[in-house]
C-alpha cells in the first residue's frame, strides 16, 4: 500500500526508532513524505501551479482598493512634471535633475516604500483573514511554492503599477528637454526602472516577512520601520545606515543622491538587496510553514 513518493521511516511518536515487533509483514504503517519525490513533483507541476499562483496574486493586487489609491496618487503626481514643463524656460532645474528628484524622493523613498509596506504585509495576512488561503493550502501546493509565487506576483504587480506613471513622468520631461529619447536619458530611465524593481523586491520581501511574523502588528511595526529606520537611520552618518535598504538604493542610483553613491560598489549593494530578499523569503516560508490555518 505504499504510494509513490512515500517511504517508510521507523520513528515512533517519541522520535525513537521502531521496536523489533514492528519489523515484519506490516512495515507500511508509518509513511512520511519523501523529499526527493516532493521536489520532483514541484518541478513537474511548476509551470501550471506557478503561473496560476502568480496570476492569482497579481489579480489580488489589481482588484485591491489600495491599488486604486496608489495608482491614483502616482497619476496625480504627474502635476509636478506637468507644471515644470509648463513653466520651464531653460533655467532652474533641468529635466534629468527633476526626474531624479521625483524618482528618488517621491517614488523610491515614499510611494514605493509605503506601497511595499501595505501590499507586502497583507500578502498573507489578508488571505488568512478572509479565509481564502484555505483554498490554496488544501491544494497540493507546498508552503515554499505559495510564498515564492505569491511574492513574485506581488513584485510584478506593484512594479507594473508604478511603471505606467513613471513612464508618463519621463515622457512629459523628455519632450521638454534637450535630451533625445535615444540618448543617455533613456539609459538613465532604464537604470531607475531597474532600481525600482530591486527596491520593490527587497522591501516587498521584508514587509511580507513582517506580515507573517508580526501578524496583526505588522502594519504598525512596518510603519515605524519605514519612518524611523528607512527615513531617519538611513540618513545618519554612522555605519548603522548600512542596515537600511534605502542606503543601498542610493548606492545603486545612477545619479548621486543623498550622499551614498560611490560608498558601496553597485555589485555589493545589489547583492545586499537580493540577499535581504532571499533571507526574508526563507524566513517567511519558515514561519508560514509552522502556521495553523484556522
Amino acid at each position: 500500500m505504499q504510494g509513490p513518493g512515500v517511504r517508510v521511516q521507523g520513528a515512533g511518536p517519541d522520535g525513537r526508532g521502531q521496536g523489533s515487533g514492528f519489523r515484519g509483514q506490516n512495515s507500511g504503517y508509518e509513511k512520511r513524505i519523501d523529499p526527493v519525490a516532493k521536489l520532483k513533483d514541484m518541478i513537474k507541476y511548476m509551470p501550471t501551479k506557478g503561473r496560476t499562483l502568480v496570476e492569482m496574486s497579481v489579480k489580488n493586487v489589481l482588484y485591491d482598493r489600495k491599488t486604486l489609491v496608489f495608482f491614483g496618487l502616482s497619476m496625480f503626481l504627474l502635476v509636478i512634471p506637468g507644471y515644470w514643463a509648463y513653466t520651464y524656460d531653460g533655467t532652474g532645474i533641468n529635466g534629468l535633475g527633476l526626474f531624479v528628484m521625483i524618482m528618488m524622493l517621491v517614488y523610491l523613498q515614499f510611494i514605493v516604500l509605503y506601497a511595499c509596506l501595505l501590499f507586502g504585509a497583507s500578502l498573507f495576512a489578508e488571505e488568512e483573514e478572509n479565509k481564502t488561503l484555505t483554498y490554496l493550502t488544501s491544494r497540493p501546493v507546498s508552503t515554499f511554492e505559495l510564498v515564492v509565487y505569491k511574492y513574485i506576483g506581488f513584485v510584478v504587480s506593484v512594479f507594473v503599477m508604478f511603471l505606467v506613471p513613471l513612464l508618463l513622468t519621463f515622457s512629459i520631461i523628455a519632450t521638454h528637454t534637450s535630451y533625445s529619447l535615444t540618448s543617455d536619458f533613456m539609459f538613465e530611465l532604464g537604470q531607475y526602472i531597474g532600481l525600482m524593481f530591486v527596491a520593490i523586491a527587497a522591501w516587498g520581501a521584508l514587509f511580507m516577512f513582517f506580515g507573517v511574523f508580526f501578524k496583526k502588528y505588522s502594519l504598525m511595526v512596518g510603519l515605524l520601520y519605514a519612518l524611523l529606520w528607512e527615513t531617519f537611520v538611513a540618513n545618519i552618518g554612522t555605519s548603522i545606515k548600512y542596515a537600511t535598504v534605502n542606503y543601498y538604493i542610493r548606492s545603486l542610483a545612477p545619479v548621486p543622491f543623498g550622499g551614498a553613491a560611490g560608498e558601496t560598489p553597485w555589485g555589493q549593494a545589489l547583492a545586499a538587496m537580493i540577499g535581504l530578499a532571499v533571507v526574508c523569503i526563507l524566513l517567511t516560508w519558515y514561519f508560514q510553514r509552522g502556521k495553523d490555518y484556522n
Binding site: M1, G12, K31, I33, S142, D292
Partner: protein
C-alpha cells in the same frame, strides 16, 4: 472484546488498558487502549483506513479543540456529527493538514497530512467558511483551483465545467461570486472540492445555511459521489440531514469522540434510554389515566392541552400509544419528544 464494524463504539468512558490480540476490526477499539509500541506489535496499518487517528488532540492555547480521539473511518460516506463547537471543523482541518495536532497521530489514506502535498492531491476539501476571491466568477474559481492540482489551462477549464455541471450550476458559472446566494456558494465550493476527482472528499457543513432546494441538490451530489466510489466525510450538526446521506456516523461532543458506528445501532442504543414524550390532547387527564397502567411509564405531567410522559421504554411506548388512542377514542393532535434529537443523544452519551 473489540466491537466489529457496524457496532456502536462507546467512547465516553474508555475501557481500561487490556492488551490482547488485535483483530484489525476497529482501531478505535484496538488502538486507544495500547501504548505506541503495542500498536506497532499488533500490526495496526493506517493504510487500511480512509482516516485513522490515535489519541489525536488539538488545543488552541487553553481551549481544547479535540481531546484524545482514536477512531477509524472506512470507505463510503461517513457523517461527522456534533453540535456547534464540538470539534468537527477542527477534525476536518487536521484531516486536510490545515492545522497541526497537539498530540497523537493521524493518517489520511495511509499518510500523515501535515505539509504533505502528494496527499493533498488526493483530497478535496470544502471548508465551512463562506469566503471567496471577490474578483472571480464561479467558473474562474473552480478553474484556478483545478490548475493548482497540476492541470493545464485546457484540462482545468473542461474539468471545472464538468464539476460545475455536476452541482447544477452551469447557468450561473459566469456570474461573479459576490452575487451568488448561500446555496450557490455552497455548491460552487463543492465543485472546487471535486474538480480534480479526489479519492477522499471532505465537506465541512455542506448544508449549512442553504435553502431546501439547495439541500436536496447537495445531497444528490453526495449520493453521486458515493455511487462513483468516492470516500466522503461530511460534518453536520443536524442528525436528520446526515441520516439522509449515510448510516455511518461519528459522534463528537466537546472535542471528544462519543460514539462511532452504524446510525441505526446508535439510535437503538438511544431508544433504550428514558424518553420524555409530549402528547398534545384536549383531554390529557383521560389519556393519563390510560397511560398510568403501563409499567414502563414512570411519570406524567399535566398541562391544559398537553400530557408529558416519561417512559423507560420509548419503543414500546410508541407502539402502545396508537393502540390506546384507537381503543379509547381520545383525540390527540400531536406528538413530540425533546429526546428524539441529536442533543438528546449527546446528553445521554455524556451524562448516561
Amino acid at each position: 472484546m473489540a466491537p466489529g464494524i457496524g457496532q456502536p463504539v462507546m467512547m465516553a468512558q474508555p475501557a481500561p488498558a487490556q492488551p490482547g490480540p488485535a483483530t484489525a476490526a476497529h482501531p478505535a477499539a484496538q488502538v486507544a487502549q495500547y501504548s505506541w509500541q503495542a500498536v506497532q506489535q499488533y500490526h495496526f496499518d493506517p493504510a487500511e483506513w480512509v482516516v485513522a487517528t490515535w489519541g489525536l488532540s488539538k488545543w488552541y492555547g487553553m481551549v481544547l479543540g479535540l481531546n484524545n480521539v482514536t477512531l477509524g473511518i472506512r470507505s463510503g460516506v461517513t457523517g461527522l456529527l456534533g453540535p456547534n463547537g464540538a470539534g468537527k471543523s477542527t477534525f476536518m482541518k487536521l484531516v486536510t493538514g490545515q492545522i497541526r495536532s497537539s498530540q497523537g497521530r493521524l493518517w489520511v489514506l495511509g499518510e500523515e497530512p501535515r505539509n504533505n502535498t502528494r496527499l493533498k492531491a488526493r483530497l478535496g476539501y470544502c471548508p465551512e467558511q463562506d469566503s471567496f476571491y471577490p474578483w472571480m466568477t464561479g467558473l474562474q474559481f473552480v478553474e484556478y483551483l483545478a490548475r493548482l492540482n497540476g492541470m493545464s489551462v485546457q484540462e482545468a477549464g473542461s474539468a471545472a465545467r464538468k464539476a460545475i455541471a455536476s452541482v447544477d450550476m452551469t447557468a450561473d458559472q459566469n456570474r461573479g461570486l459576490g452575487g451568488y446566494s448561500k446555496g450557490m456558494r455552497q455548491r460552487i465550493k463543492i465543485a472546487q472540492s471535486i474538480v480534480h476527482e479526489p479519492e477522499l472528499v471532505i465537506l465541512d457543513e455542506p448544508l449549512g445555511g442553504t435553502d431546501p432546494l439547495a439541500r436536496v441538490r447537495i445531497m444528490e451530489v453526495i449520493s453521486d459521489l458515493e455511487k462513483a466510489g468516492r470516500k466522503v466525510l461530511i460534518s453536520s450538526h443536524v442528525l436528520h440531514e446526515v441520516e439522509r446521506m449515510t448510516e455511518n456516523i461519528v459522534l463528537i461532543h466537546k472535542g471528544m469522540l462519543l460514539a462511532q458506528g452504524n446510525l441505526h445501532d446508535i439510535r437503538d442504543l438511544i431508544d433504550r434510554h428514558p424518553h420524555t414524550v409530549m402528547v398534545s390532547t384536549p383531554d390529557p387527564r383521560r389519556l393519563g389515566a390510560e397511560l398510568e397502567k403501563l409499567d414502563f411509564v414512570t411519570s406524567l405531567t399535566f398541562l391544559p392541552d398537553q400530557l408529558t410522559v416519561r417512559t423507560t421504554a420509548p419503543e414500546r411506548f410508541y407502539r402502545e400509544l396508537p393502540r390506546i388512542i384507537a381503543r379509547t377514542g381520545i383525540p390527540y393532535t400531536g406528538l413530540s419528544s425533546p429526546d428524539d434529537n441529536l442533543n438528546a443523544v449527546f446528553k445521554y452519551l455524556t451524562e448516561g
